[in-house]
């Protein structure tokens, strides 16, 4: 009885989640026509993808990386360079950036997963800082100026991406595919094992799972998807700059994930839209934006620790269940 009950609840939850995904994508598809500025939406989508990738590692693997900006930024620089200097078309430029992030993720992951908790965070932060200074000094990134005027080009040589709407739908499709991939991973046996490791690593090992292998795979996957976000972002905004590799970017993605709801599927998306929304629409307040986001973070940690989506779904299951 207990088993069939659990199964029923699981089915209902996954049905709700699927309905939620369809609703979210539909809302995003019509968003430019209800007066939302497409460039803002593209930025929010890139960061939503970045936060989802980060959430895969933190929310489902229990690994707090404090250097995820290096994957975002590396992919951004590589794809901007590929598109501008090597003249690669959009899809190849994005792929090469993503591949670079995957390669970097493999190296950093292999090193970092040997430690846990705060030490894991410190190793990723240290490597991210090294990468920052590397990008600050190497000539191809053009220092503070960044790689500017990156051509958007044409998708598959057909769709002209200089049109904002075309670009928006390409970004939306990239986001949707990556989001569905993450959803699939979380609900696969791999995801189950990952969650088991998060809850109790020694127990997962005693059951015969190679915890390090699972953690490394999750790390690489997260780095690759963060790279996809960075590569897309640099082509959309035609600019790859130091902001994307700075440590504050690593902090921002933690904030987005926690605010939206760590370990939930929609949380990072909600968090990213809120943070990017605050930055864009309150930009008149200048430096105060940092203070405002700081206050929101404090309130979030004090008052709703599960994040917005986490609290909502807890409330929902209490009342509906």
């Amino acid at each position: 009885m207990a088993i069939s009950d659990t199964a029923a609840i699981a089915t209902r939850a996954s049905n709700t989640a699927r309905a939620g995904i369809v609703l979210m994508l539909a809302a995003l598809a019509i968003a430019p026509f209800v007066g939302l500025y497409p460039v803002f939406l593209m930025k929010a989508l890139c960061f939503a993808l970045f936060a989802c990738a980060f959430n895969l590692l933190l929310g489902f693997g229990g690994l707090l990386s404090f250097g995820h900006a290096m994957f975002l930024g590396t992919a951004g620089y590589v794809s901007a360079h590929a598109a501008k200097v090597w003249g690669l078309p959009f899809e190849l430029a994005v792929l090469s950036g993503t591949a670079a992030a995957a390669a970097l993720g493999t190296l950093v992951g292999a090193l970092a997963i040997r430690r846990q908790g705060i030490y894991f965070a410190m190793i990723t932060l240290a490597i991210a800082q090294m990468m920052f200074f590397f990008y600050l000094q190497t000539p191809f990134t053009h220092g503070e100026d960044g790689i500017q005027s990156v051509p958007r080009g044409r998708l598959f040589g057909v769709f002209d991406l200089s049109s904002t709407l075309t670009m928006y739908y390409v970004v939306l499709i990239i986001f949707a595919l990556a989001f569905l991939l993450i959803y699939r991973v979380i609900h696969s046996p791999f995801g189950q094992v990952l969650k088991a490791i998060r809850e109790n690593e020694p127990r997962a090992i005693s059951l015969g799972y190679d915890a390090d292998r699972y953690k490394l795979l999750a790390f690489i996957l997260s780095a690759t998807l963060a790279g996809l976000a960075g590569a897309t972002k640099s082509i959309v905004f035609q600019l790859a700059s130091l902001t994307d590799v700075h440590w504050t970017m690593s902090g921002e993605v933690v904030l987005m994930t926690l605010l939206g709801g760590m370990g939930t599927i929609f949380g990072p998306v909600v968090g990213a839209f809120i943070i990017i929304g605050i930055e864009s629409y309150l930009s008149d307040f200048g430096e105060w934006v940092t203070v405002i986001t700081g206050v929101i973070f404090v309130v979030c940690v004090l008052a709703f620790r599960r994040g917005i989506v986490g609290e909502l779904s807890a409330w929902w299951s209490k009342h509906a269940g």
């Binding site: 600050l136 220092g143 503070e144 100026d145 200089s162 700059s241 994307d244 864009s280």
Partner: protein
């Protein structure tokens, strides 16, 4: 009485017609000026809120609003980040109906805005940024580079220093577009005049601690340490050089870009004797003094730097062109601005070249000794005037694709 009323009605009708005619070509019926500047960081004193005040004064002085045009000014902080600046510019053009962006102190941001403005067919009046690339290989039919540039600074200050015996140089350079351009242009002048460059070191933008860079400069034994940086970076490096006893040790500092507000921040005891190049000084004539007085009342007592004056002058000329064309179409207005000679109370008469370079004289000035100064803001004595035709890079040397 009747006649008065009659003529009032006539004026009103004429005004309505004029307004109707004027608004026909003005997008959204409003000429919208976006002042994109550094509102919070190392360049905020020399541009920042003062640039917004200068733009507003230009609009008021032009009297254009009395003739039926609506002019609106918006401002934003680019935080010296190209990504922030370009996002603002894009949004201004796409959704906020901004017609022209002015100021932008920071060459990295300015180059990004330059490209976006060109893609969107709007207008960009650079007062704050220095890189001579804006009228060189990055020149655009939608951009006018108003106040000064790195070539002018290099030839003014750099040339003067080499002539007085400063023939070995070490550069302390802000590591972004502006610093690179200033270093490149100054190095060319030094080499051409028979000097030597012994070394260079690059520091990140907005650095607080210059000790390791200054020690390298000291060890180079160069006679002149050229500061290819600006704003807070310049004042910090000059102050810290004093702490290291660099000037007492026989080396001299060359501030390649020093603003009035920097001298004010340093104080005359530290800044005295610095040689610098400027295109505007508030204590030049009655008109500039009157402007400075009004400006200081609006901007916390700060006297206008050449960037503030540049914003005023550029907006004044822009509004004239808008009125002449009865249109605020970016590409057309910039073309009109280029073909019309400029004339304003601050820079006097001038012209704008095909590559977008505004031409006016430059002044080589020396910072006064504390005893010579009559009070706050009385800082400069003019040593030489560089005539307009020699102050800026010759048109043919710029490699601007617009010039055939």
């Amino acid at each position: 009485m009747k006649r008065v009323r009659g003529s009032l009605i006539a004026v009103a009708i004429a005004g309505a017609f004029a307004a109707g005619a004027a608004q026909a070509q003005i997008s959204d019926n409003v000429v919208k000026i976006g002042v994109l500047s550094d509102m919070s960081s190392l360049y905020t004193d020399l541009a920042g809120a003062g640039s917004v005040a200068a733009a507003r004064m230009a609009v008021e002085d032009s009297g254009i609003e009395k003739r039926g045009y609506k002019v609106e000014i918006v401002s934003a902080d680019h935080q010296n980040k190209p990504d922030v600046g370009s996002a603002i510019a894009r949004q201004w053009y796409d959704t906020d109906k901004v017609d022209v962006i002015v100021d932008v102190p920071n060459s990295g941001v300015a180059l990004a805005v330059n490209q976006i403005t060109r893609d969107k067919g709007k207008a960009f009046l650079v007062s704050g940024a220095a890189s001579s690339d804006l009228t060189g290989k990055a020149c655009s039919p939608n951009t006018i580079h108003w106040t000064y540039d790195t070539w002018m600074l290099a030839n003014g200050t750099g040339g003067a220093i080499v002539k007085t015996g400063g023939d070995t140089w070490f550069f302390l350079t802000a590591d972004y577009a502006f610093g690179h351009a200033l270093e490149r242009d100054t190095e060319a002048v030094v080499l051409k005049s028979g000097g030597k460059v012994l070394g260079k070191v690059r520091h990140p933008l907005n650095t607080q601690d210059f000790s390791s860079f200054l020690l390298q400069a000291q060890a180079s034994k160069a006679k002149i340490i050229g500061l290819a940086n600006a704003g807070g970076d310049t004042t910090n490096s000059i102050k810290q050089a004093a702490e290291f006893g660099i000037v007492k040790g026989g080396q001299n500092l060359a501030g390649l870009l020093v603003f009035l507000t920097d001298v004010h921040a340093l104080g005359l005891p530290t800044a005295q004797g610095l040689i610098l190049t400027n295109t505007f000084y508030w204590d030049q004539n009655d008109q500039s003094r009157a402007f400075a007085k009004r400006f200081a009342e609006r901007d916390k007592g700060i006297h206008p730097t050449m960037l503030h004056a540049g914003v005023y002058s550029a907006v004044t000329h822009y509004l004239k062109a808008v009125e002449a064309l009865k249109s605020d179409d970016g590409t057309k207005v910039i073309a009109k601005m280029k073909e019309t000679p400029t004339d304003d109370p601050l820079f006097g008469k001038g012209t704008i070249r095909a590559d977008g370079r505004k031409i006016h004289p430059a002044y080589l000035v020396e910072v006064k000794k504390p005893a010579e100064s009559k009070g706050p803001w009385d800082y400069y004595k003019v040593r030489a005037t560089i005539p307009a035709d020699q102050a800026f890079r010759p048109l043919k040397d710029g490699e601007c694709p617009l010039v055939k």
